[in-house]
């Protein structure tokens, strides 16, 4: 279990701060933004990003008419939209919380911890369509580890982390795990006679504590 830490708390804070500024810049302010996190850790990231964006928008000169309203954020569960439900042990869904204003005509920023195959995001796009019709959908991820299986790319990336498929990337966040860190570990060496690397990555016992690296 040689887990190597690749991002510390300060790195994560810096990455989120930069992403918050990039979202504000691309969106020309915070108007019409809705942040939706993908459970489990995407939800906490969305909440933290929303707080940062709200704070930066309030301190900038563009908000001449007082404080802008807080950027709405929520959670988008994609379990029911996955394409691998028949291939894995049953997953328990998490609650979906769409902010009161809805997402029609808004710019939705999807937030997840790790971008891997892109299949989770594909599911999320289907899920969004059932909740309304946003003006645009963007994607922000803390870690992009490559190995895409679908034509999906992130708009905002905290850290590009080229990895082997046998490696596992763990994202730990203060609200969920008590600590901010991103670690990487090689499962090919200590996996107990793992028959194939795909299984090692999506071991059901670990899915709660690791990235949504589902393939």
């Amino acid at each position: 279990m040689a887990a190597r830490t690749v991002l510390q708390q300060a790195d994560i804070t810096r990455a989120l701060t930069r992403i918050a500024h990039e979202i504000l810049e691309a969106n020309k302010g915070s108007a019409g933004l809705v942040l939706l996190g993908i459970p489990t850790r995407g939800v906490e990231l969305a909440e933290r990003l929303a707080a940062l964006i709200t704070a930066f928008a309030a301190s900038s000169d563009e908000s001449v008419d007082g404080r802008p309203s807080p950027v709405p954020f929520g959670a988008l569960d994609v379990t029911m939209y996955r394409d691998d439900l028949a291939r894995h042990p049953t997953r328990s869904p998490s609650p979906t919380r769409i902010p009161a204003g809805g997402i029609d005509g808004k710019t939705v920023v999807l937030v997840d911890d790790v971008l891997f195959s892109g299949r989770t995001i594909r599911s999320a796009l289907d899920a969004i369509a059932d909740h309304g019709r946003p003006a645009a959908v963007r994607l922000a991820v803390l870690v992009d580890r490559g190995h895409r299986e679908l034509p999906i790319r992130p708009d905002y990336v905290g850290k590009n982390l080229p990895s082997a498929t046998s490696e596992r990337i763990n994202v730990l966040l203060t609200g969920t795990d008590g600590i901010d860190a991103v670690t990487i570990e090689d499962t090919s060496r200590d996996a107990p006679a793992a028959p194939d690397p795909d299984e090692a990555i999506t071991d059901p016992a670990d899915t709660q504590s690791t990235e949504e690296a589902t393939r």
């Binding site: 939209y81 328990s92 998490s94 609650p95 979906t96 909740h131």
Partner: protein, 315 residues
């Protein structure tokens, strides 16, 4: 979970997981687009050897909301009336491509036979078998009760310390049996009330208290919920009680008894109701009655049951 055959062998964690998934399913039913793509390409067969309105429609709605293809099969007007066996019928359905078979059968244990005989590879959901069990009804009852008691904080909660009276025809009621096991697994205290002739033999082994006097039981247990059962006259070939009027006055939820219930107590009934017999209209139509909620929650609960049995492959 490959099959859902009874609530007796459902452990507490699985039961709560099922109810929590039902909460998620209920949330999707508030949306503009109610349909989920979850079971796209799967075929659900409703195999009904006994009459049913709400259970069959509820399962059909649940399967369709999950994008499954639904085939309805009722024994009347089928080859079953020509003498086809359960095995042949089931294998025919599988040959058609059934992934899930929802079965209601007049014989207790028929779903278990179907699930464990090795005749078919499909998942089996028990939608009521004889006087044995009706697990999805108990799950939707528990779901309804949990929502009434815990409100928005329902997720993850159980029913510890809740007192429930189940009143009436216990002998013929698979709903009562499923509820006894599920509610006690979830921590509720269950008291069964009914005429001695309608209390089954061998009830000593059940995790319940038995009473024969409804007024005394209401006063003693101070119940959080009263579940009235339908008197199943179609299964009664003996005189179990002298007359319907006597039954109504002794074991029916009359207006006077309804008024004597604690303010917080909810009134449940699995339907179909015999108004004026086991339940008075004033109780059935009051704000404390959950009868229509139970029907609505039935769809969410069955969606959860279909999801859990139809997904999750080999591992």
């Amino acid at each position: 979970m490959k099959h859902l055959l009874s609530t007796r062998d459902l452990d507490r964690d699985t039961a709560i997981q099922l109810l929590d998934i039902a909460e998620d399913m209920a949330a999707t039913q508030q949306r503009e687009v109610k349909k989920l793509p979850t079971l796209r390409g799967k075929t659900v067969v409703n195999l009904f050897f006994e009459d049913s309105t709400r259970t069959r429609i509820s399962f059909e709605a649940a399967a369709k909301r999950l994008s499954a293809d639904v085939i309805n099969f009722s024994a009347k007007g089928s080859s079953v009336s020509k003498g086809e066996s359960l095995q042949d019928t089931a294998q025919t359905l599988e040959a058609i491509g059934a992934d899930v078979i929802v079965i209601r059968h007049g014989s207790s244990g028929a779903p278990k036979v179907l699930a464990e005989s090795g005749w078919i590879a499909a998942s089996v959901l028990n939608a009521g078998d004889g006087t044995h069990e009706h697990p999805t009804q108990a799950l939707l009852d528990a779901f309804t009760l949990r929502r009434r008691i815990h409100g928005d904080a329902s997720r993850g909660a159980a029913l510890d310390g809740i007192t429930v009276l189940i009143v009436g025809d216990i002998l013929h009621s698979r709903v009562a049996r499923s509820n006894v096991w599920l509610l006690s697994t979830l921590g509720a205290e269950v008291t069964l009330v009914g005429p001695p002739t309608l209390i089954p033999h061998g009830i000593d082994g059940w995790p319940v208290t038995v009473a024969f006097d409804l007024d005394a039981a209401i006063a003693d247990t101070d119940p959080d919920a009263v579940m009235m059962l339908r008197v199943q006259t179609e299964r009664m070939h003996d005189a179990y009680f002298p007359s319907t009027r006597e039954y109504a006055s002794l074991w029916g939820l009359t207006a006077a008894r309804f008024a004597a219930l604690p303010e917080r107590a909810v009134v449940m009934h699995p339907g179909p109701m015999n108004r004026g017999f086991e339940i008075a209209s004033v109780a059935a139509d009051s704000a404390r009655s959950t009868v229509r909620e139970q029907v609505a929650n039935g769809v969410s609960t069955r969606m959860a049951a279909l999801y859990l049995t139809a997904t999750g492959g080999a591992a």
